[in-house]
């Protein structure tokens, strides 16, 4: 299969790559760029562990062909914050114990970020709708909901 050259921005960095036409964005992020924060849970768009932001929208990267990422801006969990400069959502998940095994956490963070970017004052219903595609088997979601609502409050005050 002939490879295609693509250019895209990942976490603020411009990247040029040759990709196979059947490679998914998830595979490129993990295998080529070694951005392993994005997780593979089902590889068919059911669980949301691979959620990243593409031009600000939350997308299952396992269903998104890498060639289609050409020219796009992508945010993964690695670009969300760093020690000492955490995103309010990251701080809130820690404060509210909104994570356990952590495998779904990157996807939850990015789906929640897409929500707050679009709707700075979400209701609990909004949070539930925005995270409906992110499965978590550990937490029962309760502390995640608390964390997202609290992060929204903090971000509005800033």
């Amino acid at each position: 299969m002939s490879e295609k050259a693509i250019q895209f921005t990942v976490n603020g960095k411009s990247i040029q790559l040759l990709v196979k036409p059947n490679s998914t964005l998830l595979e490129i992020l993990r295998d080529e760029l070694k951005l392993t924060g994005t997780k593979k849970g089902c590889n068919r768009g059911d669980c949301g562990a691979c959620t990243v932001l593409i031009d600000g929208k939350a997308v299952n990267s396992c269903l998104f062909l890498a060639v289609k990422a050409n020219g796009k801006t992508i945010l993964t969990v690695e670009g969300l914050g760093e020690p000492g400069k955490l995103h309010p959502l990251q701080e809130a998940l820690i404060e509210y114990a909104g994570l356990q095994c952590g495998y779904c956490t990157p996807g939850i963070l990015l789906s929640a970020k897409a929500l707050l970017d679009e709707k700075p004052s979400p209701t609990e219903e909004d949070v539930r709708r925005a995270l409906a595609g992110n499965l978590c088997r550990c937490t029962g979601y309760t502390q995640i909901i608390g964390a997202v609502l609290s992060a929204a409050d903090k971000m509005r005050l800033k």
């Binding site: 820690i94 509210y96 994570l99 309760t142």
Partner: protein, 763 residues
């Protein structure tokens, strides 16, 4: 001792790496020149293997090695009975049975090569229903017959009890097969060094147990097998046995190259162990005032194709089957039966959810027969301190009644729920369920060890074999260690799950880690502390008994100024030529049950719970929505209350799933819904509001009074929901899950019964 760190919320010690995306799970580990492995599995539920021809597959470019049964040095494994094969030799017994493994330069090539392996089968008759499998003429899954185990409990005399009773109530129930669904699939990487030592990074809840099992399979001494725990993406019992480890190790040994294997989600559903499905029969004799007199129970568990944890989970079922009640006459018979279904193994609750949903819906049926409030029936019979269980064990620290009272108050059990008919087709109801759950392994020794070293700067390293699977054990165990040394949490560094360095631990199973490993840390800390105390006592010319550790210092009790810092004390020891090292272990006190009567004390202690649910049932389409749950759990001392509540929320979520949606659809041995689209776990939109209530009935044998409780959290949920459906509509659900079709069916039966009753009435 100052109790400043235990009993309050501190953030998880592993949280930062996890929110940054920096936590490394097995699939995040890469090595140069790494191969990728894929497993070929049986296409038939029961067949003889006539031939495995790998010649075509070997020729595919990029294929490096292929394993079949003859490449496995010791081709058996199993946590109790070693009746499972690493790779099938002459027979496959279910559709997930592994036949061959391919290793190739890429995952794609490995996958393609598995399809080129030609396996010739002679199809054998199969059996898929555990009751059918017990019949004389049923196909035999194993040469020894299909009855894998029969466990018995005998207390008092049920026949006398029934004769004494005013009412006899009988029920049957059946439960589904369900899957752990940890979001991280089984994955691992193996590397062999130049001396032949194998190192494996693969999530396991019990690395020490896995190390022994793996060494045996590989034909290597245990010292040549090292299992290192990467971050683990959930367990729930799904990682309680070796799975992919033998394959990647054998290929690494054969090719001298690093090997990775990651299961697909489909494989997770088809080939990992699952929760056993049960058929249950309950018969209870009761006095008019609600006093339980006698209970007879029969349990038939579907083991699937191999033993795995079948017998021990059945034993736990038998011990818990009569519920958390005082009943003088009890008879339980539990049967574990082989079929050609996927293998039943350990899953959160380990035999308790199945018996509780049957027993607690049966309790509501008894209450309804006697026209007693279901809660009152439970209060009347609830186990209390000094009562004996069905095995004759005398109980202590029983927090059941308090969980009932606290749940009832928070839920408003005695208040009206408001209008029952909310909208035309939607009706609301409430339900309650209680639960009892033990701590630690059933009947068997299951020690945990701990090493402690005190550093020159006053920081503490703690090394344990227990692992973090997401439940928060690293945080809770660090808190216990910090408490023991009277230091801040950041002074403690806890290392978990590296079999080269950590002491033995049976693992993060059976709700035992905080209780058992926590206690081991206390014992190890005590041994290190005595070195420090003896030395400081000499220095200060006081008795060691006069000293205490507080705020990072060792000082004379009551005189905080008279003392030295821990750093100074460690340095003082060093100047005298001493190192401050501690070690210790703890084994939960228990003993074997008598095989005929089931008499004995199989566990050190138990936890108790009461959950209440309010549901809304749409009687037109059969859809049930859980509106809220109140969950009161006796957890012993809550080392970290926020993480304790996290367990309760997570357990309730699993319980909601198993009550309403989750079920592996297996037809003629084939798993028909091996994905998250067709197998529905609770999503954030389905998750009800849960109020978690912690009841701290302190456990004298546990660290700082802690118990193990995490598995108890999903045990009562399904019954509370099923009872609420019945309260709302009168529909008696007796098969899990209560999906819309079953709810509609139950409503139809209820209606027919009602009409029949009315027509009889008219006669």
């Amino acid at each position: 001792m100052n109790q400043s760190i235990v009993g309050k919320y501190v953030p998880r010690v592993d949280a930062l790496d996890k929110v940054l995306g920096r936590a490394k799970y097995a699939d995040d580990i890469w090595f140069e020149g790494m191969l990728y492995a894929k497993v070929l599995r049986s296409k038939h539920p029961h067949a003889r293997i006539l031939k495995v021809d790998t010649s075509k597959a070997v020729q595919l470019e990029g294929v490096v090695a292929i394993l079949t049964a003859r490449d496995v040095p010791v081709n058996t494994f199993g946590i109790q009975t070693k009746d499972q094969v690493v790779l099938a030799e002459d027979r496959v017994r279910y559709m997930g049975d592994p036949v061959a493994v391919v290793a190739a330069e890429t995952e794609e090539i490995a996958d393609e090569a598995t399809e080129l392996i030609d396996v010739q089968y002679e199809i054998l008759p199969s059996v898929f229903d555990q009751r059918e499998a017990l019949k004389q003429d049923a196909p035999k899954v194993h040469a020894r017959g299909n009855l894998a185990a029969h466990r018995k409990i005998r207390k008092g005399n049920v026949e006398d009890g029934f004769a004494e009773s005013d009412e006899i109530v009988e029920d049957t129930f059946s439960t589904q097969k369900s899957e752990h669904c940890h979001i991280e699939p089984h994955a691992g990487v193996a590397v062999v060094d130049s001396l032949g030592k194998v190192t494996v990074w693969a999530g396991s809840s019990l690395p020490n147990v896995a190390q022994a099992e793996l060494a045996r399979v590989l034909g290597l001494p245990m010292s040549k097998v090292r299992i290192v725990q990467p971050e683990i993406g959930g367990n729930f019992g799904g990682r309680n046995e070796i799975s992919i480890e033998p394959y990647i190790c054998l290929i690494a040994m054969k090719t001298k190259r690093p090997v990775k294997l990651v299961r697909t989600r489909e494989e997770e559903f088809i080939a990992s162990t699952i929760r056993h499905s049960y058929f249950l029969r309950y018969k209870t004799g009761v006095k008019k005032d609600g006093t339980l007199i006698a209970r007879e129970i029969e349990i038939i568990s579907d083991a699937g194709a191999y033993s795995s944890y079948g017998e021990s989970s059945l034993t736990k079922s038998c011990i818990l089957a009569a519920g958390p009640y005082r009943i003088p006459n009890v008879k339980v018979d539990g049967y574990l039966v082989f079929t050609n279904n996927p293998v039943g193994g350990a899953m959160r609750g380990f035999g308790a959810p199945q018996v509780h949903v049957a027993e607690e819906t049966h309790m509501d049926n008894i209450a309804s027969r006697l026209s007693i409030d279901p809660l009152e029936l439970r209060v009347k019979n609830a186990l209390k301190n000094g009562d004996t269980t069905v095995t004759g064990q005398v109980l202590h620290s029983v927090g059941l009644t308090e969980t009932i009272e606290r749940a009832s108050e928070a839920f408003g059990w005695h208040k009206h729920l408001g209008e029952k008919a909310v909208r035309e087709s939607k009706v609301r109801g409430k339900g309650v369920s209680c639960a009892i759950y033990p701590i630690g392994l059933t009947e068997k020794p299951n020690p945990s060890g701990a090493f402690v070293k005190c550093n020159m700067d006053g920081t503490i390293n703690v090394i344990v074999g227990a692992v973090e699977v997401g439940q928060g054990s690293k945080t809770a165990l660090s808190q216990i260690a910090a408490e023991e040394f009277g230091v801040e949490l950041d002074k403690v560094n806890l290392t978990t799950g590296d079999t080269d360095v950590s002491p033995y631990d049976f693992g993060c199973v059976a709700s035992r880690t905080t209780y058992t490993t926590g206690k081991a840390i206390q014992i190890a800390a005590n041994s290190a502390r005595s070195i420090l105390f003896n030395t400081v006592a000499q220095e200060l010319a006081v008795s060691p008994d006069a000293l205490e550790m507080k705020n990072g210092k060792i000082c004379v009790k009551g005189s905080p100024s008279k003392g030295v810092s821990i750093a100074e004390a460690v340095q003082l020891c060093y100047r005298r030529g001493m190192l401050v090292l501690g070690s210790g272990y703890f084994n939960p006190p228990n003993n074997l049950l008598d095989p005929e009567t089931g008499r004995g004390s199989p566990y050190p202690s138990y936890v108790y719970a009461t959950q209440m649910a309010e549901v809304e049932v749409d009687v037109e389409c059969g859809l049930v929505k859980v509106l809220r749950i109140v969950a009161a759990h006796d957890t012993g001392r809550a080392i970290n209350p926020v993480l304790v509540k996290g367990q309760i929320f997570g357990g309730a979520a699993l319980g909601v799933g198993e009550a309403l949606t989750e079920s592996l659809v297996i037809e003629e041995g084939r798993t028909c819904n091996p994905n998250f689209f067709d197998y529905l776990i609770t999503s954030i939109e389905d998750m009800p509001d849960v109020e978690a209530i912690i009841v701290e009935e302190l456990e004298p044998t546990g660290p700082l009074g802690a118990k193990g409780f995490a598995e108890a959290t999903n045990v009562p949920t399904a019954a509370a929901i099923i009872n609420a459906i019945c309260d709302a509509t009168g529909a008696k659900i007796r098969t899990l899950p209560a999906n819309p079709a079953r709810v509609l069916q139950a409503l139809k039966e209820r209606k027919a019964l009602h009409e029949n009753w009315h027509s009889l009435d008219r006669v």
